[in-house]
Amino acid sequence: MDQLTLAQARSWIDATASVIAENAPHLSELDQAIGDGDHGANMTRGFTAVVKKLTDGAKTDDLGGLFKLVGMTLLSSVGGASGPLYGGFFLDLGKQCAGKQTLDAQALTAVLESGLNDIKRRGKAEIGDKTMVDALTPAIEAMKAASHDVTSATRAAAETARDAATKTAPLLARKGRASYLGERSIGHEDPGANSMALLLGALAGVCHE
């Protein structure tokens, strides 16, 4: 597959909504261990609102419009730390994709990297701080290293993110709510890294079909 199309991007959002809803109890459980236990509910509320807007016929003529709508909706429905982070991430994707109907693997990688930078700028987290950044950063590196088609690039991203989310367990949290626990944050996976892995997993899913 050479290009991510608008229709696929739309499927990506739907697939993300499903997989987030399915995994909400797990995400909340992870957040309950080192946070306040709402990450599953937050993300579900957000993506449910997004899907509702899209189903209700919100007009999105290009990738920019689609991602902007996703970003705005997440911003006004998620709350918490993940709301501005995921909301800002998609708003940034929207800016990068303004007027675009498709993205090839390289462009997709660049767009996601720009989104990552928005997350880092807003949240001031670095790699190793035990956040969603720890899933997204290596995933983008893996996309760069993968062969130049969307299918393998996104599959590499998904697998790497999945693996990286698991590897957040031994880290000491330095950002977000988990940082208050100090040493006690060690031994638990980061919820946001997990939701990010689900997001990238959904992307790989639609690019595989």
Binding site: D36, D38, A41, L181
Partner: protein, 333 residues
């Protein structure tokens, strides 16, 4: 999970309906997006005071909306920061031409959402300033974390800045005063029991019959130490010593002392804690000029308490004594 609720999704909306029904004479509730606002807002020429945060800390913040305190409060879902559109709409509703001051508890989510709201209000041509509270001394190495959490000081901050705004203090001075208060107050809390977020249905952490959690925040998150249950006097010492040594407070200073219940602790126990806290303050040569005792910033039904000490001069005490008329805090009117 045993709660007086109908369904987890409806908790905040139905609470707001209750508030509208109970206090509709002086408050107005917006349901889309959620916020609570003084019925007489905007007050012309007065700085609009805005706060908000996750629900589950009642009466904070909604119970503090009214003359002499907040102009509006934005409730998020339980323990989840509200969203920027809420603050944006509430900010517009309370802007009487003198700008809006946001009081934000230092949590990653709250800070980022209020930051976005501030940008949006600014773009709307409204002057906005933000004061943080980050008074929780339980958060150590705060340089390597999201920073100290905002806890009990928030209640005192809202009262004091509310009085300043009511007196017509301009936005820039309010911001400076808020920063001064932020620098002068410290808190710490503990829990005997966890609490249960409605949509989760199980306790936020597990505690044995002989364990308690020291250094908790206000979101049902575990604290930094799990230790055997101790006596009220010992617990009060565990909270007071870090508070007093952190700022530090100096002999001869005046303080406002606030003993707060976490939601499931009866008042009789809070007075037992206050007793010891006052004795410790006296031992340190501090003069308690004012006090507040009750469950004002809570974690749902959690049993436990927190203590806040705020260094106060006569100007601050005058603001404390100024009339306040809200559902949860009222005097002088």
């Amino acid at each position: 999970m045993k709660k007086l609720i109908n369904s987890p999704e409806d908790v905040v909306r139905e609470e707001l309906e209750g508030i509208q029904l109970a206090h509709g004479d002086r408050l107005r509730v917006s349901f889309d997006p959620f916020y609570i606002v003084r019925k007489d807002a905007p007050v012309k020429g007065k700085v609009g005071l805005l706060s908000g945060g996750g629900s589950g800390h009642e009466p904070m913040h909604g119970g503090f909306v009214g003359a002499g305190m907040l102009d509006a409060a934005c409730p998020g879902h339980v323990f989840t920061s509200p969203t920027p559109d809420q603050m944006f709409e509430a900010g517009k509703a309370i802007n009487g031409g003198a700008g809006v001051l946001q009081i934000v508890k230092n949590y990653t989510g709250d800070v980022m959402n209020f930051d976005l709201a501030a940008e949006m209000l600014h773009e709307e041509g409204i002057d906005v300033a933000t004061v943080l509270t980050d008074d929780d001394v339980a958060v150590k190495d705060s340089l390597y974390t999201a920073g100290r959490r905002g806890v009990g000081l928030t209640v005192l901050m809202e009262k004091l800045l509310g009085a300043a705004a009511q007196k017509g203090m301009p936005l820039s001075e309010m911001k400076a005063l808020g920063d001064q208060i932020r620098a002068s107050g410290r808190s710490m809390g503990m829990a005997l029991t966890p609490c249960t977020v409605p949509h989760l249905g199980k306790p936020s952490f597990e505690l044995g019959e002989n364990e308690m959690e020291v250094g908790i925040g206000i979101h049902g998150e575990p604290g930094r130490h799990r230790v055997p249950v101790a006596s009220a006097d010992e617990i009060t010492e565990m909270l007071m010593e870090p508070i007093l040594s952190d700022l530090p407070f100096h002999r001869g200073e005046q303080i406002i002392l606030f003993v707060n219940g976490m939601g499931g602790t009866p008042l009789i126990e809070l007075y037992i804690v206050y007793r010891k806290a006052a004795q410790i303050a006296e031992k340190h040569g501090l003069k308690i000029s004012r006090n507040l005792i009750g469950s004002y910033i809570t974690s749902l039904e959690m049993a436990g308490a927190s203590i806040t000490a705020l260094r106060a001069d006569d100007a601050l005490l005058a603001l404390w004594d100024a009339p306040v008329n809200t559902p949860a805090l009222r005097w002088g009117v």
